[in-house]
Symmetry: C2
Subunit: 570 residues, 2 copies
């Protein structure tokens, strides 16, 4: 192949594809340059003056390297990898570091393998990080457990790129044997380890890093960012749907710039469709004042360097021909997207077919519960004051508020108050576990809602003011094999949306799924769910026992700061 | 091991070694920070406040990461790897990317293996680049040939780090089959390829880079540097004895900074001893106006990134504990050098023993020539004007001057002129080849000098104004098994210095070798060699047929620009 590149570079033969008359971002020197970009096979072979078998006129456009998403859970889009690609590739993303943490928590290695195999037929490089924390905590029941031994066995798989975000930072600090085995296995295999260590500082951060961990996407404070970078970490600028820290971009200096990369972590299909992916992050951080070439460099070369992806993330001979021609470095509207040297999207539309989607049996039918009854949701509290969960809008950090409660028939009365019942019903092993809590201020009235996405073990999480509606909701989720449900006590109506892949994602096309999803969300708001919350998705994070402060899992109420269960009684 | 790091990082146990009260360079943010640096095993485990089993007070000193020499031929020091380490480690260099191109040209893979094995017992990481161009050109006779097939076979050796400087750029441009095989083999093995492409621009540079080549240490012009960096290359700032381009540092900008690294390429023992190694380069580029933290970053993190050396080149938890405590960032005088967590040099003196040096039989006795006679050096020129080589002082670029010649007895008369005879006597295969030329302006009078270092095939190169003295010189070199020689026609004195390892390096200690070497060089100057030349070493580059313009090899006079032999007749 080298011969073909060299001959075309020297113009002895025409290049296969030439982006003519381009302005392009040179991430190596920070300049914007002019010239044709010649491509042969999957490589750029030269910049300068070239003729091609096929030519695309890029006059008036600016070409940038394809974007690299440094950390993403595809599952959060509720789409199959194929449909996910159909939304993000036309936006300019050509490589993602994907951590299939969610589906692996439900389906084990079958989930991981599913994401890998479903990604092969789309023009998107999906680098699979082996989820490191399955389950995320030992305090909940997940569909699978990946022990140290399992990590050791699987980390060397050829389709595994690295070790996914190491959320169990207490386990690292305490030298948990299983944790150490996982980290050592990744190092032995020479693989990169992603981090996740919100608000870990000083000697504890040193200790965490001694696990050989490279990145963090959780930090938001200037001091935390500065300390993490100064200790050798790469820091992600995150543009998720619920979790965002685009503000991190304001801490970029010329001296620390190369340690910032971009990611989306968790981003919904609706946002991908309507607002965009990394293109939207770029648009926003540039609007926020960051030099556009610096922004592009973070989204491309920096990420490639962080993850050891050689000859990727720049426009230069022998570098991967992942290219995006955008209108300008303000809008970042992608006119053409080239992946591995082929035009794969134009004017925001994919030029590849995603209608044939890989769908193995072992990621389907994953909701295993006995039939639920209204009395399963009785909440027995032995005091007049109880802990109620709250959530800070726009984030996943929860609070704890002490509330006065009324009781009747051994149950807490929530109707007519701003309290709601929250329940996590275990759905993998049929343990019958139901964790219960109170939530204040979500707004839902006269029914129940539920979803089989409940980070990170993805049991059924339900919220409601009516035990019967909550039981109906759970039973409906079982019936449809996972998804979202909304039950109206007054009308008896039950609305649902099926997420057949692990109860997390749909095998349907992005467009129809999104339309139905939006309709269901609107119905939830119509039942009172405040618009400052993301209806179902904010619910899905109330069980995430690695993010402060109070969380609910199938085994009970959990105090993240104490890393222990806690009583509901205040 | 991770457990030990983590526990020490958290201060549950004392660190093994702590650099107390340090100021240190944070290459990630460009800041100078304060704190203790804690070390366990070969790793830094933390910065902050620490206690250690052993503590070194670094108050008043500044700690920087150990320097990385991005490209060096150890052979140019004329020292064994052990003795080389004894000079450079105390200066602060802890990792070198070593290309044993010279000894491999003489001894084949045995030379390469020798450098690798001799380096194991010194506290210096020697990353061995498999020499890519043995011989450098097909126009000369070398001791070994590494074909594409040989490269394919050897590149996957565990002791081989990458593929050495690809000097045969015409071969790349012309898609020479053997060249392509070498490049493809390196890519298949996932190994980095160093470049060497002086004054290659535009489409030709694109083509060269399509070989997948990463670095260049030859460029000196602003435009060339800018183009090479903009095309994804790393550019070396070179501090050799003969070849220098420290001036490249003035083209560093905040935006392109990360693509600059430091190297020494070819540096003599005397310079290493008296002036230093990368410490001297740092001193000089900082004196020249470069921000010292930027300079340090080029010498450390940038080089580590260029060569994919993870967790190296920065002061951070889990990063390799290669540390240098210097007096300040102006003098860069190394007070303490830590390699892999151990104190290995103090106050410029090595704390490791290099008296036991590895010396295998297959790198000794490498001068294979028949006895030479005075008539072997008769130079028969069929014209009155001839091409005479010249050399630009301070470099290795030669010129061609047309000179009038006198003849007598079928030989050119050089005595009483400013011309000298130059001869390259093949010494590997006993072919009897002698290439002859004229040189103008070296200054030597009344005798001959010679050396078995003659880049890159390392035949015997001789210069003189007396055929008999030239024959004596060659025979002496044979007798001593390689080295340098000076013959005084008037007194009959023959002075020599033995370089027993491949005729290139000495198995002796650095100090006594250097003393004797200096004495011999002085004798050469006493015989008229101009002080603007480096006596023997300038001679050694007159056969380097990859550097413009006119060169002499065992097969004859070579025009580098035409890449073909040329007649001496003008």
């Amino acid at each position: 192949m080298l011969e073909k590149y060299i001959k075309a570079a020297r113009r002895e033969v025409k290049a296969e594809l030439v982006l003519k008359n381009a302005s392009y971002v040179d991430v190596f020197t920070g300049e914007i340059r002019k010239g044709d970009i010649a491509v042969v096979g999957e490589k750029i072979v030269g910049t300068g003056e070239y003729e091609g078998e096929k030519e695309i006129d890029c006059a008036g456009l600016t070409v940038v390297p394809g974007y690299i998403d440094g950390h993403v859970h595809i599952e959060s889009s509720q789409l199959s990898p194929e449909e996910f690609a159909s939304l993000i590739v036309p936006r300019g993303t050509t490589t993602i570091i994907a951590d299939p943490h969610e589906i692996t928590n439900v389906c084990g290695m079958a989930g991981c393998e599913y994401i890998a195999k479903a990604s092969v037929n789309v023009p998107l490089d999906v680098k699979i990080q082996l989820p490191s924390c399955v389950p995320a905590t030992p305090f909940e029941t997940s569909g699978a457990i990946l022990s140290g031994k399992d990590i050791e066995k699987n980390i060397t798989n050829s389709y595994i790129f690295g070790l996914g975000e190491f959320m169990n930072y207490p386990g690292v600090l305490l030298c948990d044997k299983d944790v150490i085995q996982k980290l050592e296995a990744a190092h032995s295999a020479g693989k990169v380890i992603d981090g996740h260590a919100p608000a870990v500082y000083g000697h504890e951060l040193n200790a965490y890093l001694c696990g050989g961990i490279t990145t963090d996407h959780e930090c938001v404070e200037k001091e935390e960012i500065e300390e993490k970078i100064s200790k050798g970490m790469y820091v992600h600028i995150r543009h998720g749907s619920s979790t965002q820290n685009l503000g991190n971009a304001k801490y970029i200096t010329p001296a620390n710039m190369r340690r910032f990369i971009l990611c989306t972590d968790d981003r919904h299909a609706a946002d991908l469709k309507e607002k965009g992916h990394l293109d939207d992050a770029l648009r926003k951080i540039v609007a926020g004042g960051l030099d556009p070439v610096t922004a592009v460099t973070c989204a491309t070369l920096n990420a490639a360097e962080c993850y050891g992806l050689k000859f990727r993330g720049g426009i230069a001979p022998f570098w991967l021909a992942d290219l995006v021609a955008v209108d300008n470095l303000e809008n970042f509207k992608a006119k053409y997207v080239i992946k591995n040297g082929k035009l794969v999207a134009e004017n925001g539309k994919p030029l590849f077919d995603t209608s044939k989607r890989y769908l193995p049996a072992n990621v389907l039918n994953t909701v295993h519960v006995k039939d639920l009854k209204p009395e399963d949701f009785i909440l027995n509290v032995n005091s007049d004051k109880a802990k109620a969960m709250t959530i800070e809008p726009g984030g996943v950090v929860t609070g704890c508020e002490i509330v006065d409660i009324e009781k009747a028939n051994g149950d807490v009365v929530v109707k007519g108050t701003d309290l709601l019942k929250l329940a996590v019903v275990e759905r993998h092993k049929m343990t019958g576990n139901i964790g219960k809590a109170l939530f204040k201020g979500y707004g839902l009235k006269g029914g129940a809602m539920g979803i089989t996405i409940a980070h990170d073990s993805h049991n059924i999480i339900l919220m409601g003011d009516d035990n019967a509606a909550m039981a109906t909701a759970a039973n409906k989720l079982k019936e449809i094999g996972g998804g979202m449900v909304l039950v109206n006590s007054k009308t008896g109506e039950v609305h649902s949306l099926t997420l057949d892949i692990g109860g997390l994602m749909s095998s349907r096309d992005a467009e129809s799924l999104q339309r139905d999803s939006r309709a269901l969300i609107e119905k939830a708001h119509a039942m009172g769910v405040k618009r400052e919350y993301e209806a179902f998705m904010s619910l899905a994070f109330l069980s995430l026992a690695v993010i402060p402060r109070l969380k609910i899992v199938d085994k009970g109420l959990f105090d993240v700061e104490k890393f222990a269960f806690t009583d509901i009684e205040a």
